[in-house]
């Protein structure tokens, strides 16, 4: 690792942590299709590549936070829809409280400027 502080690197690290929270927050509202998630993130100003989203979903699923089911689509193979498991919901709640703490703290600090 280089000692010089890389702006891009910090940015991506910031995004990364938040991204999982944002995705979970979308899914906890209800069943979601990955491309719907990206479009919703995009609408709210977060650019996420599907190539980034998919591995994240797989990881969260493997960790037991998410589950999926196949939904028949019109013409072509079925789509994979993701839902949140109970452990996922608990995980989301801890993330949510962490996020609230951090955001409050960061807001407070940045407002003083």
């Amino acid at each position: 690792m280089s000692t010089s502080i890389n702006t891009d690197n910090i940015q991506s690290q910031m995004k990364k942590g938040v991204l999982e929270f944002a995705i979970l927050s979308i899914i906890q509202r209800g069943e979601a299709y990955p491309s719907d998630i990206t479009s919703e993130l995009k609408e709210s100003g977060m650019q996420v590549l599907e190539g980034t989203l998919y591995p994240l979903l797989t990881r969260l699923k493997n960790a037991g936070y998410l589950d999926y089911r196949w939904v028949e689509s019109t013409g072509g193979p079925p789509r994979k829809y993701f839902t949140m498991t109970d452990t996922g919901k608990e995980f989301y709640k801890t993330l949510e409280s962490t996020w609230n703490e951090i955001s409050q703290a960061v807001n407070k600090i940045t407002k003083q400027n």
């Binding site: 190539g51 998919y54 797989t58 072509g76 193979p77």
Partner: protein, 675 residues
């Protein structure tokens, strides 16, 4: 226009431009390499494949258009390139090819079951040199076949393969084929094989072409020495045929480069989206779809053209050579200046020009000038038409003048006293050296021009057996002409006088015709009729002057190699007796007598032989007797000797005994006296 292909991707039918598909495949491979590194990556990748299929299909269904390069770029923007997805991991993906590079330095044999054929030796070699395994296999197979054909005591190719099989460490290699041999449709003469090979090896196209065509040219040049007609042999002979056959095989085996990717594989350019987009080979040649049959027919056509050329070029060259040397003869046949001009044009524009044209065409093709030079073409075509016209007019003129054939035989009896007729040439031999191997002056000697007449060597000599009792000679003058009358006139105008001195017939080897009119192919046939049991001797000089073309039906003639009174090589011909028996009985008594004499002679000889045999037998017997008696005498002598010896021995023994006895007696006597 890009070529559109139909693909089935993840169970979805998608119509996509070919270069777009290539770019997509490349991208997909990159993604795969990226995701398979992390845990659970296979699932992610599978999900992404579904997703990409969905996106591609959407392009088809929503826009009813084919998937283009732009669409692929859009797809890549949505999914993201590996480097965008995770720079850290992307770094590790770039490390992967580096590992490959270190692997490449060592020669392995490939144990990848999907890629190897036997033991993965060829595949490993191909990977080591980063070339198409098919090329390595092909070289190996050809080398092995050649090896078998040349009958080495052991097969180097197979032994080498087994040795490498044992020695090389096996490794799992996924050959990333950088190069693949294609035929090049952009720069082709026949099938684009040479130019494809040139691209594959980064060589100049003309060099490869020269390598392929050199044996051909060599073959044509060496065949010329034999005045053509050896085209078939040419193909069969080892070296010439080799490149030809190799070309045909490659033509059939190697696919034609059809897309930009094929070109990049051929040239060994790395394939990724940027190179595909930047590649100059994007603008494709229009694809004429050749069915297998039409391609096959094309190949056949080219083979026929090649064979045709192989026959025609030597023939054309020999016509040229012939026309130069038979100029004198042509001069009197053509006669008029019109005909001579036509003949000149024929030689120049009907024979020489196409020959030059073929050579120029070949050179231009080899040099890669595919664009025909228009002025050159027009000039060529114009002059060639002139040549064709000249041929037609010339032939028409000559045929008009010489369409009727008339021959006038005249028979005369020759009365000679002897039973042997000698044939000698009228004029003594010229001083030409006869030992020239290739007689350039041969054509000159066909014709001798005089002030009022031309002498032409158009005389044939023939002999036949006759039932008459006297020799006779038939002189048949023949000629061509515009009609019967003219042809007859031409025939009778021939001067040909024979002379008989003693029992020698002098024959001129040339006939004379007036030089005021064209030569109408007048010729003379001399037939000598030989009666039974009489002998005809044709001198060597005569034979030589007639170019050894004396003809006969050899039936009923006897040849004698040795002739007592003439030079070594004279033909001594006797009308023999092996005619039908009836004829012999009725007509020729001498034969019968001769036969009887012959029989008596034979009998006498037989008797003599028998007598000799008997005498020999008696001598042999006597010898045997003598031997036996000698042996017996010897035996007797030996026995006598033995007996004598025995007697002597016995006598000796008796003597000794009596001596002993006497001694005893003496002793006894002494003892008694002592007592």
């Amino acid at each position: 226009m890009e070529k559109i292909i139909q693909i089935n991707y993840q169970g979805r039918n998608i119509s996509i431009e070919e270069n777009a598909y290539n770019a997509f495949q490349q991208y997909e491979n990159e993604l795969k390499a990226f995701f398979l590194k992390e845990e659970g990556g296979e699932e992610t990748f599978a999900d992404l494949q579904y997703r990409m299929a969905e996106i591609l299909e959407q392009k088809n269904t929503t826009t009813t258009l084919d998937v283009t390069m732009d669409d692929i770029n859009e797809l890549i923007d949505t999914i993201g390139k590996p480097s965008d997805l995770d720079p850290e991991k992307a770094e590790t993906t770039t490390e992967a090819p580096k590992q490959d590079a270190t692997e490449k330095k060592k020669l392995y044999r490939n144990k990848n079951k999907k890629e190897k054929v036997i033991a993965g030796v060829c595949s490993g070699i191909a990977h080591y040199f980063s070339i198409d395994p098919i090329a390595v296999r092909l070289m190996f197979v050809l080398f092995t076949i050649f090896n078998i054909a040349t009958l080495f005591s052991f097969n180097v190719g197979i032994v080498a393969y087994i040795v490498l099989w044992v020695l090389l460490e096996p490794a799992y290699i996924k050959t990333n084929i950088h190069r693949k041999l294609f035929r090049n449709p952009k720069d082709k003469i026949l099938g684009g094989v040479c130019s494809g090979i040139a691209q594959f090896f980064n060589a100049e196209t003309w060099v490869v072409r020269l390598i392929f065509i050199a044996p051909f040219l060599l073959g044509i040049m060496t065949n010329n020495a034999h005045f053509g007609g050896r085209g078939i042999h040419f193909l069969g002979s080892s070296f010439y045929g080799l490149t030809f056959i190799a070309y045909m095989i490659l033509w059939v085996i190697v696919p034609m480069a059809k897309s930009s990717t094929d070109y990049m594989l051929l040239k060994g350019e790395p394939i990724n989206i940027s190179t595909i987009q930047n590649s100059t080979s994007m603008n494709l040649v229009s694809q004429k779809s050749h069915s297998g049959l039409s391609k096959f027919l094309k190949v056949i056509a080219y083979i026929l053209i090649a064979l045709f050329l192989m026959f025609m070029i030597p023939i054309a060259i020999s016509i040229l050579i012939g026309s130069v040397f038979s100029y004198n003869l042509a001069d009197i046949v053509l006669f008029t200046s019109v005909n001579k001009t036509l003949a000149l044009f024929t030689i120049l524009f009907f024979v020489l020009l196409p020959l030059l044209g073929i050579i120029i065409w070949l050179i231009r093709k080899i040099a890669g000038y595919n664009k025909p030079s228009k002025p050159l073409r027009i000039i060529f075509a114009g002059l060639n038409i002139l040549g064709w016209a000249s041929v037609v007019f010339l032939i028409a003129n000559l045929v008009k003048e010489n369409n009727t054939y008339v021959s006038k035989p005249v028979t005369q009896t020759i009365s000679i006293s002897s039973d042997t007729l000698f044939v000698q040439p009228m004029t003594p031999d010229s001083t030409y050296s006869e030992n020239v191997v290739f007689e350039l002056n041969q054509f000159d000697r066909i014709l001798e021009k005089g002030s009022t007449e031309n002498k032409i060597k158009a005389v044939r000599l023939k002999y036949k057996k006759s039932d008459d009792t006297t020799f006779s000679i038939e002189i048949e003058k023949s000629a061509f002409g515009h009609n019967r009358e003219e042809a007859g006139d031409h025939a009778t105008s021939v001067e040909y006088e024979t002379r008989l001195v003693g029992n020698t017939l002098y024959l001129p080897s040339m006939l004379s015709v007036s030089n005021k009119i064209p030569y109408h192919f007048q010729n003379v046939k001399v037939t000598i009729y030989v009666p039974r049991n009489k002998t005809l001797i044709i001198s060597e000089k005569m034979k030589r002057q007639l170019s050894y073309s004396i003809r006969t039906n050899h039936k009923g003639f006897e040849y004698h190699a040795d002739s007592s009174n003439e030079t070594e090589d004279d033909d001594v011909i006797t009308a023999g007796k092996d005619l039908e028996k009836s004829t012999i009985r009725i007509n020729d008594r001498t034969i019968t007598i001769d036969d009887a004499l012959q029989d008596q002679k034979k009998e006498a000889k037989q008797m003599l032989n028998e007598a000799q045999r008997d005498a020999q037998q008696q001598i042999d017997e006597a010898k045997r007797d003598l031997d036996q008696s000698t042996r017996e005498a010897q035996r007797n002598l030996e026995e006598a000797q033995r007996e004598a010896k025995q007697k002597i021995d016995e006598a000796q023994r008796t003597l000794e005994q009596s001596k002993r006895e006497a001694q005893q007696k003496i002793d006894e006597a002494k003892r008694s006296s002592n007592k």
